[in-house]
């Protein structure tokens, strides 16, 4: 029998706000000492009350607008009750009945190159929980993460394979980076997924029994867990077994999923409207001003880069994957005589040097985009050679400045004067008469040696193309006169 899988994802995205969702504590990364960014509100102390961080609302709605969601003029928060030691209040302030965003979609390009639409059900805002730490037989709780804003993006079960789910996550991450709504740092747990999946005979339209897999924090983990889980379900169905609606967890070391609880053991979260917060109202003016500030979608920008700057598709894709990089490139390429030169510098030197830097670093880089454009021009026109250009870039990385000024200041300019290079060529030929003779006798490779000698004599400053021309002109003319 042929089988068909249906996959839906719930992606929890940590938002890039300065402070937590309901208090003034700063959001920190995992390097902060435990419980160093906490207060009565995020610790759930008696009498403390939440106050909504409006920036988190803006970032969520911005995402919703980008993904074509309907934005609710009035939404509200609900309490979701369950007991857990890393939940300060033993209820989570989340959105249940009236999320900020509903509907929408993400365009995903599969490995086959075919574009599919993954529909979204909703996007809502909620607070993160704390982190339990176990040290030997003792346990501790770090509340730094408690109350950090999470945006939960819930899809319809529109994905049909683990690879498609993987492609969806990549596409989503690109959009989130482009929107600058989240740092999207997977090691920091900025993106975490729950999976819903089911398998059914290919000729049946009704979905099969749904299994939920909780808390995956890598995209690869999502794909691996799905591959295994769908196989497990399919094998069970083929053996004539009935699947149970349940929640499972993925054990990456064991390479398998394990049951956590069945439908009967499922929590009753007892949702009801949070009485400590007022409903969230978003006026038409506010919503439209946020819409007007939306950036270009990465896919559209990629196409534009190909057309406008004449980039190959691969380069355009790489340069639009992160909005900070795309912005940087575009600022440098705008007004360049040959944008491809700038793209080459981005694709090689810049991305290599910035490989471990966070996205925000691009905006603070001492190498200003205009300086990179200058550098690409100098190198492209042959004013300086490639090693010199790299040395100039070193200086720019260290303390910024203007490439032309750096080249002049250090006497790194290339020798492009025909008379000077001609003199150099004469000297090389004089000093290596045997090699020069080899070339005249048809040994083409001898020319490389002569060029190398000329470069050495000029300490790398000679324009190699010019030097080559001058050598050929001399050796060629001499061989003619000899003939």
């Amino acid at each position: 029998m042929k089988w068909k899988a249906s996959i839906g994802l719930e992606v929890h995205v940590q938002l890039a706000t300065q402070t937590k969702l309901f208090c003034g504590c700063r959001t920190t990364d995992s390097n902060a000492p435990p419980n160093s960014s906490v207060c009565p509100v995020c610790l759930g102390y008696p009498g403390a009350l939440p106050v909504l961080n409006r920036e988190a609302v803006r970032l969520t709605v911005r995402t919703g607008l980008m993904l074509g969601c309907a934005i609710r003029a009035t939404s509200w928060f609900d309490r979701k009750s369950y007991f857990y030691p890393d939940m300060p209040k033993n209820y989570q302030i989340s959105q249940y009945a009236a999320p900020l965003c509903e509907g929408g979609a993400v365009e995903v390009e599969g490995e086959d190159g075919i574009r599919r639409t993954v529909r979204l059900r909703r996007i809502h805002l909620e607070e993160d929980v704390a982190k339990s730490l176990h040290i030997g037989r003792r346990s501790g709780v770090d509340f730094n993460r408690a109350g950090v804003p999470l945006m939960e993006i819930v899809t319809e079960p529109d994905m049909g394979s683990p690879d498609e789910a993987f492609a969806f996550l990549l596409a989503l991450k690109r959009i989130l980076l482009c929107l600058a709504v989240s740092p999207c740092n997977l090691e920091e747990g900025n993106l975490r997924c729950d999976i819903n999946c089911s398998v059914r005979p290919a000729d049946r339209s009704e979905l099969g029994t749904k299994v939920e897999i909780k808390n995956l924090n890598t995209f690869k983990g999502v794909r691996d867990a799905l591959r295994h889980e769908l196989e497990r379900q399919q094998a069970a169905l083929e053996a004539g077994e009935l699947l149970e609606q349940e929640t499972r967890r993925w054990d990456a070391d064991a390479g398998a999923t394990f049951s956590m609880r069945t439908k009967e053991q499922a929590h009753d979260y007892r949702y009801f409207p949070e009485p400590d917060l007022m409903p969230v109202r978003i006026s038409v003016e506010e919503r439209e001003s946020w819409r007007a500030a939306l950036p270009e979608m990465p896919a559209r920008r990629c196409e534009r880069f190909m057309q406008e700057y004449g980039l190959p598709e691969y380069d355009a894709r790489v340069l639009t994957a992160d909005r900070a990089i795309a912005d940087y490139f575009e600022e440098a390429a705008r007004g360049a005589s040959n944008p491809k030169w700038v793209a080459n510098w981005m694709m090689t030197e810049m991305l290599r040097r910035m490989a471990d830097a966070p996205s925000e670093a691009w905006a603070r880089l001492p190498v200003r985009p205009a300086a990179l454009r200058e550098l690409a021009e100098l190198a492209g026109r042959g004013v300086i050679n490639s090693p010199t250009a790299k040395a100039v870039l070193d200086v720019l990385f260290e303390r910024g400045g203007d490439p032309v000024a750096i080249v002049q200041e250090r006497g790194w300019g290339q020798i492009s004067d025909a008379a000077a290079v001609g003199g150099l060529a004469d000297r090389v030929i004089r000093e290596h008469e045997r090699v020069a003779a080899d070339f005249r006798n048809g040994k083409a490779a001898a020319l490389q040696f002569l060029i190398g000698q000329g470069m050495r004599l000029s300490r790398g400053k000679a324009n190699p193309a010019l030097l080559r021309d001058e050598l050929i002109r001399r050796l060629g003319s001499r061989s003619e006169s000899a003939g």
Binding site: L43, Y45, L49, K89, Y91, F272, P275
Partner: protein, 494 residues
């Protein structure tokens, strides 16, 4: 001074301090002496801040000598155990908050502190403000200063008893369904429940978030107005606090009620009230009529639904508000729990009292899947109807006059085993919380057993000024609020 101070109001005390008749240290010492003498019988305080209060009094006296002011400079105030005061315990009358010390000031406390107030001690209460007798306290019951065999009312029973017994000049309480007004009526105090949102709830330990409001227990209406003026106003830490311009409330002006229309909700007078209470209330209404008010009958058709609606909403909210007491971060923790689930369940089983558990279970049930619509959803819709009843009534009158309670203070232990009967005692106070209105109770007479009776005035949202006008004029025309329980008290030292 010890005997004088038991009679002074807050405003009088301020005037005495201003005039130099006494200093703050003398005042605190005198109150501590009264407490030492009377509180062993009454048990209104569960924590006294004597040393720190005296230090604060010395500082206040020095400030005054240096020419610095503050509307409440050097004036001691008692605080119900439900409000966070930095550095003091805040146990809400519960075992589960044993060992918890407040790391911050509630907003109302911070505002009183900014005007120089001193926080003398913490008053007893029904655990987490759940109860009407102050018998549900881990610290044991408080007794009514008018008769030690009677309850002081609750849940702010400690605050009411302290003010009535002269152990406090004024006290703060909290009112979720009548917890300020009912004990004030039982103890012969003036009790104010402001409009929902007028006072910040930040730092007030939550029982039912959509109903809770900080209130005052004072010796007269002028003091209620003074405290409200200091505490009122928008607080950025409380999203539900109202953005109102700051108002200076006063009850000093106005000797008559001419031009005011006062409504009598007919449903409140259709039986259920003790005859002694009814007689007293009718006499008080007559006083208002003589002062020039136009008395008219109004109708609040959904009154009978208020009690079940209140208990559903309050318990539902409470079931989540009290979920945080789990032994993980603060307060009581069961010893030697082997795992987290045992830690949670045993801490809560041992830490909470019976009434609190009853309400948590009720509220959990009301929010459960499959029951939500039938209980919580319906209660919310009825709440809207009750609110509309009042909106309609306030079209035709400026304030309502009602009894505060159907009976005067009853004997200790009488309703402990009969929670339903205890709940029914909230029938006149609960609707104001459901509708978010303001309410004021003033002493208006005594039963023949010499137990105080309270007259309740209800005003529209932000109608506090009207209540102060009616209450102020009533207190100028009568002397009920100046009556103090005889000491030693009836029923004592037997």
């Amino acid at each position: 001074m010890r005997n004088e101070v038991t009679h002074w109001t807050l405003a009088e005390t301020c005037r005495h301090l201003e005039a130099g008749d006494c200093c703050s240290v003398e005042l605190v010492e005198a109150l501590l002496a009264v407490i030492a003498e009377r509180d062993p019988l009454i048990h209104s305080y569960i924590y006294l801040n004597a040393e720190e209060a005296l230090d604060a009094a010395r500082e206040a006296d020095a400030s005054r000598a240096a020419g610095k002011g503050g509307r409440l400079l050097g004036v001691p105030i008692a605080v119900k155990d439900v409000l966070n005061v930095r550095g003091q315990p805040c146990r809400c009358g519960s075992r589960i908050l044993k060992g918890y010390t407040a790391p911050y000031d509630a907003t109302v406390i911070a505002r009183l502190r900014a005007e120089g107030a001193i926080f003398l001690g913490r008053t007893n209460m029904d655990e987490f403000a759940m109860g009407s007798t102050t018998e549900n306290s881990a610290e044991g019951p408080t007794r009514n200063p008018w008769n030690l065999e009677r309850v002081p009312g609750g849940s702010s029973g400690g605050s009411a008893a302290a003010v009535a017994a002269g152990e406090a000049l004024a006290a703060l309480g909290s009112d979720t369904g009548g917890s300020v007004r009912q004990p004030a009526a039982f103890c012969g105090c003036t009790g104010l429940k402001p409009t929902y949102g007028l006072l910040s709830r930040y730092g007030l330990v939550a029982y039912a978030s959509s109903l809770d409001q900080v209130g005052t227990l004072t010796k007269d209406v002028e003091d209620a107005a003074l405290l409200l003026s200091v505490m009122a106003g928008r607080d950025p830490h409380d999203s539900t606090s109202l953005d109102t311009p700051s108002v200076h409330y006063s009850a000093v002006e106005g000797f008559d009620l001419r031009g005011l229309r006062l409504g009598l909700p007919k449903e409140y007078f259709e039986g259920g009230m003790e005859w002694e209470v009814e007689r007293t209330i009718q006499a008080a209404i007559a006083v208002c009529r003589e002062l020039g008010a136009e008395i008219r009958e109004v109708s609040l058709p959904h009154t009978a639904l208020a009690i079940p609606t209140y208990y559903l909403i309050a318990c539902a909210e409470a079931s989540t508000n009290l979920a945080r007491y789990d032994g993980v971060r603060y307060g009581y923790r069961t010893p030697d729990a082997a795992d987290v689930e045992t830690l949670h369940s045993r801490t809560r089983a041992e830490g909470f009292g019976r009434e609190v558990k009853r309400r948590i279970i009720l509220g959990t049930y009301a929010l459960s899947r499959g029951y939500y619509e039938e209980y919580y959803g319906r209660a919310q819709r009825v709440r809207t109807l009750i609110r509309r009843d009042f909106e309609e009534a306030f079209r035709n009158c400026d304030a309502l006059l009602t009894p505060t309670t159907p009976t005067a203070a009853y004997p200790l232990g009488e309703r402990v085993e009969d929670p339903l009967r205890m709940y029914l005692g909230d029938v006149y106070t609960v609707p104001a919380n459901l509708a978010g209105l303001c309410g004021l109770t003033v002493p208006c007479g005594f039963t023949k057993e010499l137990l105080p009776v309270g007259l309740q005035m209800l005003g529209p949202a932000l109608g506090e000024s009207v209540l102060f006008r009616v209450g102020g004029a009533f207190q100028k025309a009568t002397a009920w609020h100046r009556q103090r329980p005889p000491f030693p008290v009836a029923g004592s030292a037997r």
